[in-house]
Symmetry: C2
Subunit: 343 residues, 2 copies
Amino acid sequence: MRATVMYGAGDVRVEEVADPVIREPADAVVRVLRSCICGSDLWPYRSMPASEHGRRMGHEFLGIIEDTGGDVTGLRRGDLVLAPFVWSDGSCDFCREGLQTSCRHGGLWGGDLDGGQGEAVRVPQAPGTLVRLPAGVDEALLPSLLTLSDVMCTGHHAAVSARVSSRTSVTVVGDGAVGLCAVLAAQRLGAEQIILMGRHKDRTDLGREFGATDVVAERGEDGIARVRELTGGDGTHAVLECVGTQDAIDTSISVVRDGGVVGRVGAAQYDEVPLGFGTIMRNIGVAGGVAPARAYIEVLLPGVLDGSLQPGKVFDAAIGLEQIPDGYRAMAGRQALKVLIRP
Amino acid sequence: MRATVMYGAGDVRVEEVADPVIREPADAVVRVLRSCICGSDLWPYRSMPASEHGRRMGHEFLGIIEDTGGDVTGLRRGDLVLAPFVWSDGSCDFCREGLQTSCRHGGLWGGDLDGGQGEAVRVPQAPGTLVRLPAGVDEALLPSLLTLSDVMCTGHHAAVSARVSSRTSVTVVGDGAVGLCAVLAAQRLGAEQIILMGRHKDRTDLGREFGATDVVAERGEDGIARVRELTGGDGTHAVLECVGTQDAIDTSISVVRDGGVVGRVGAAQYDEVPLGFGTIMRNIGVAGGVAPARAYIEVLLPGVLDGSLQPGKVFDAAIGLEQIPDGYRAMAGRQALKVLIRP
């Protein structure tokens, strides 16, 4: 089959790889219907050292089950299924607690396993990992359903981690696809003031459509001052850090109200968070991390199916498999916000 | 009256100062019955630059109301009252949310105001700040009641911030008075496994009496390995950081289970917390800060009054006003865990 392999920074190729087959009794093989490129795929795209062997790419996909191993119950050939970006057994203590990202027998797609950016994927721990979608679902819903693999659940995780509710004001740091989904999640949870920090007008316009009440285009000290100005000097109860840079986490700590929480979901490019004596006096919390999408899919799916939640709007380009290298270039160059793949 | 003034590192004096009088309509003057020395008083005792003017000391006290301003209702001369370590108006949004440490019209004792380590204190915002205790309370309860000014509420705040419950395992980092109160708080909240990290046997023995199930005397990597060994490799759901040094917060992050929370209450001597990519993958949270004792007094008071909660056991020495310099020396030299003052 055809699949995406990254060989180093800027070097993404679509090439022939071995067809996936059942190897373990809990495996399934899924033919990919929709996939996409993640903002986190851009980190290796910018920095990966050259590799002879290469690394399979993609961790967001939905598709049709083609084959199942002997231990797979509840799923069968022909089912439409959605895969969260971490696979998990569904039965260990972490999975039962809803933290499937720490599953004792789970892992990440890609690398030496199949990724989502190809024609098909061998799915380990299929009964714990895959979520069956209703048969005959409207094809127009597929992009929004696909966001439940990662980006929408990640935005939701930022909001849940920062305890967003109808009683909290919110700042979202970052106008990438995760930041915009975090706006949507905050709006869904009832927040009335949602300040979006971002400087790309086409993106912040979508943020306003998703529920942002204010947009702050300034960065650094100016941006912090502007958020404080919009909140009577206090900052917001919740801050959703959706970038992962040192600047973004520093800004987040500076705009959170006393007693508030920074929900961070950006893949941390920093090693430390400035949480010294001043933040002790202010009772600032930091929470979040990789989103347990498997737990959130069940929470967010009804809204996507009934059309009240439309995170699929973050996709502003759609390509076939062979155009994937162009898709990476477009996202890295900010010509595209998020690229949908139809293999 | 006589009161304690610190003039620099190691230079604590008890001397004559002006008697407190009502200055604002919401003031009260309280004659101090019991006070104490706090672990946090030792930070300036070790590092304060020499000062001609000096700085009044003490922030934990209970006593008898001697006088009240014209706006003070609900309190009168002769009432036995307890003061939390931050004064607050009781009516602003932060106070109503239970975060009186961020009160819009509040502040800390000492400095240029009266402190608790003296014969009497002018209490600003008296109706919001002071908690009236039952008349005729047994004198034997006064030490435990006094701990509600700060140290017991601070241990409780660590536990609440780290979401301790009957379903969580707990590590307490530090065997000072706050750490021991954190053990007691975790036990009160139902935790079944409480690992106390500390290496002073007399203190960890009291920790066992307060509910610690395991004691880890090792520090650094050895201590981390020992906690992991005691928890099947996982670390604990909750970690209560009760020291405030870089080493203590680093250890805390290393012994928390995936998805867990570090509740930190140690006065941070560090500027940054190691919360890089690895902790994102593990969904580690950090919460806490200065304890809103005013909110917690109401929660913990019934247990102290009925004798089921006895945090007063942290006092292992009692002195009069004139012995306060000796009390500082004893605590700084670790001859005493926590020193009670009877002015």
